[in-house]
């Protein structure tokens, strides 16, 4: 029986259409995998099902009956539950309180003993009593917190469960435990939508798999008929949507052109270990890896923003390991942070002040800022970055995402660095601004600046990079490719762990 049917679901944000006429079916007792790159529209679609967003058109049917879902409570009444990627539990409260939070909020006082008993009944089939309802959530390992999230979701007569990358922060063993829980829920007739980037999750757990790309449902296949190769092709897409600027032609990858030499970089928390790579002058080096592979963490490790256990980072012939971020910055190794609002910009300040933040030293004389220089610098940078604004005194918060990103670029580049690390340089940026940023990056490289580019959009990494370093999902650097080897088949094969998976392909499919 069809537990959930979506017909012709579309969604636009302003002029930007993110979902195009989506059709989707979920059977009761089925695990239906959804794959797709970041920004493909998975979250938007789930939020429409769960009532966080309203679709522009189309129909949602539950058990064959058309329904209207205007808000989350409507979805909950229909038995739709959503476990989001980030754990959103009250860390200081007990397991039982978390599971029944909604009920506690409505009620007039509650009986802890009764709650704990009910919580135990829900948890028992999920984890065999290994979670104590009286335990404080903070003390649980992440995987058990995830189970509590699921228990919370299904406590309310759940029939359709949405899981958004539940394994992204779990270790292998923890993921296995979680998968047992999911399989059990399936046997109870709950329909499960399972979003994941990991091939092993999809092939190991799902009955069917659908791929979303750029807001379109590209394919839906029974798992038995799907291959890693097909899924990779569907996700990456055959055609390249954006024209990227031409790549560097005369790169000299010789020893004397090495700008940055990373040797055996190992994270203190174990997110990655023994990372080795070299960066050459004027090169754009892409880092390809799935979400959670540790790309951003490596970059933070390079720039002193994250504690490392060991390794060397040779920059300008000296080991900068253990130096402070500001010292590394002054040396000329700068990073464009991943989250422009949290880590990058001073949103309530104007463009001028943002542009000079990293450049203060150069425009200060006798402790005083030379306002004329500051002004000229800001005008110049904002012109060369092509920031669309009413003037350099416009407050950055009031700019569009793409223009904010350009201001951030201006801020970082004002310092005229030797190496720029770009973490998600075009996230949340419209197509036009994206192309401009790409052009700027290439221009920068042609002027001799070396660029490390991290992006979760594989197309972008492939289109921009002269060389691509690949990370598998456990933060292991599995090699690099140049020239014609920079293609999605090749890269996806490595970063989705398919190279590991294919060795034990038969074993896993028989297992389920």
């Amino acid at each position: 029986m069809e537990a959930l049917q979506l017909r012709d679901i579309s969604k636009s944000f302003g002029r930007n259409q993110v979902l195009f006429s989506i059709d989707f079916d979920l059977q009761a007792g089925e695990i239906h995998g959804i794959m797709g790159e970041n920004g493909a529209g998975k979250s938007t679609l789930m939020n429409i099902i769960y009532g966080n967003l309203k679709s522009d058109g189309g129909e949602i049917r539950v058990d064959g009956n058309p329904v209207t879902i205007n808000e989350v409570s409507d979805a909950q009444k229909l038995g739709i539950c959503f476990v989001e990627q980030e754990i959103a539990l009250c860390q200081d409260a007990t397991v039982a309180e978390n599971i029944f939070m909604a009920r506690i909020n409505q009620g007039k006082g509650f009986n802890m003993k009764k709650l704990a008993e009910e919580a135990r009944q829900i948890l028992e089939p999920l984890c065999g009593g290994s979670i104590d309802p009286y335990e404080i959530v903070e003390k649980l390992p992440i995987s058990n917190q995830q189970v509590v999230e699921i228990a919370k979701a299904i406590s309310n007569n759940c029939r359709i469960l949405i899981l958004d990358e539940p394994t992204s922060s779990l270790s292998g063993e923890e993921a296995d435990a979680l998968h047992r829980v999911i399989q059990d829920l399936k046997k109870r007739g709950i329909g499960i939508i399972y979003i994941s980037h990991r091939m092993s999750d999809i092939f190991g757990q799902c009955d069917r798999v659908s791929v979303l790309r750029d807001g379109t449902m590209v394919s839906t296949r029974p798992i038995a008929e799907a291959t890693v190769q097909q899924l990779v092709n569907d996700m990456a897409g055959r055609e390249v949507d954006i024209l990227y600027p031409p790549k560097a032609e005369d790169l000299q990858r010789t020893e004397e052109n090495v700008v940055l030499d990373v040797q055996g970089l190992t994270d203190a928390e174990g997110r990655f270990s023994d990372v080795n790579f070299k960066l050459y002058k004027g090169e754009i080096l892409g880092f390809a890896g799935l979400l959670g592979a540790g790309r951003s963490e490596i970059m933070q490790g390079l720039t002193g923003l994250r504690p490392m256990k060991g390794g060397k980072v040779i920059f300008h012939g000296r080991d900068i390991m253990g130096k402070s971020t500001s010292a590394i910055f002054q040396d000329g190794l700068v990073m464009l942070p991943e989250d422009r609002k949290k880590q990058g910009l001073f949103l309530d300040m104007d463009i001028e002040m943002n542009t000079s933040a990293a450049y203060l030293q150069q425009i200060t004389r006798g402790g005083m800022i030379q306002r004329g220089k500051e002004h000229r610098q800001a005008e110049e940078m904002s012109k060369s970055m092509n920031v669309r604004c009413t003037g350099i005194h416009q407050i950055v918060r009031s700019l569009s995402g793409g223009n904010q990103q350009k201001v951030l670029l201006a801020k970082v580049l004002a310092k005229r660095p030797d190496v720029v690390i770009m973490d998600e340089p075009t996230r949340g940026v419209d197509v036009g601004a994206k192309a401009e940023i790409h052009r700027l990056l290439r221009q920068l490289a042609s002027e001799g600046v070396s660029v490390i580019m991290v992006s979760s959009e594989l197309n972008e990494v492939m289109g921009m990079s002269d060389r691509v370093v690949m990370l598998d999902s456990s933060g292991c650097l599995v090699g690099d490719v140049t020239g014609d080897d920079i293609n999605s088949d090749h890269i996806m094969y490595y970063i989705s762990d398919a190279y590991k998976y294919q060795e034990k392909n038969d074993e896993v499919t028989e297992h389920e």
Partner: protein, 336 residues
Amino acid sequence: MNETQVKKSSPVLDFFKRLKNARETSLILIIVAICIVLSITNPYFAKWANIQTLLGSIAINGILTIGMIIVMISGGLDLSIGAVMCMSMAFSAKAITLGVPPILAILIGLVGAAVCGFVIGQIVTKLNLSHFIVTLCFMGIARGVVYVMTSGISISLVSNLKTMPTLAFIGSGYIGGTVPMSFVIFLALAIAADLYARKSSGMRKVYYTGSNEMAAKHSGIKINRVKVLACVACSVLAGIASVIYMSKYSGVSVSAGEGAEMTALSAAVIGGVSMNGGKGTVAGGLLGLLFIVLIQDAMNLFSVQAFWQDLIRYVIVLLAVILDVLQERARKKKNS
């Protein structure tokens, strides 16, 4: 959204545009209005004697407010300024009664205050504790030090000050027989602080840190050092205020500066200094103080009962802040 390519904006036009939107402009207008109303309705307001009292009374709170503004811009606040002022003063006064030369005595007091600020800053940054709780504790600690030192008895410097004319002049002298010396000191500090806040790269770093700590860090700014220095600056200013206090009142009462942190805080907030950091100017905060002082003066002139004064004052502060939030909200709505 009406977005165009970067165009060179006329600096003059720009200046007026910014002037129109500045908090300082509206505060000045309000203050002028209050002054006009007061001078019409009350014959004593515009008298030089009243103005002299006003100017003399603003110096101590004014210097404390400058410190508060700096810490608030860095993203914190300092509840200990009144107590630190008292402690710094107790150090100096004690030293003077023991025969230490006044300059050295004042230095001892200032160093005491600076150490206080440094320790506060270190605790806040190293342990990542909130300014609120740390300075709340220091409010008690500094006051406690005073009690222990003095056994709760005021230190009188009346006889000492007779032999120290310069020190006495600071708090109670008049330049040209008319303008209080303390006000001149305050005004000089205020102008210097305002210029420093607008032009120096040191203070700009304080703004960056308060506006977005992570972004400041990513810009290569040593945020911990900035935050500690802001705390030190605030405490040292409290130390400077203590010199004027000591001189003006010829001694130290153990309750000196009680509630001063609240006056400074509300002045800063009225003057547009954000509790979230990164926003506000020294001039704005001090105009906020002037506003409060005028309200206080008006209540005195109209002989409002003392029991009513706090109530009225803080209701006005609250109204001012609410009005501000509503205005801000309206502006944001217009922009988006």
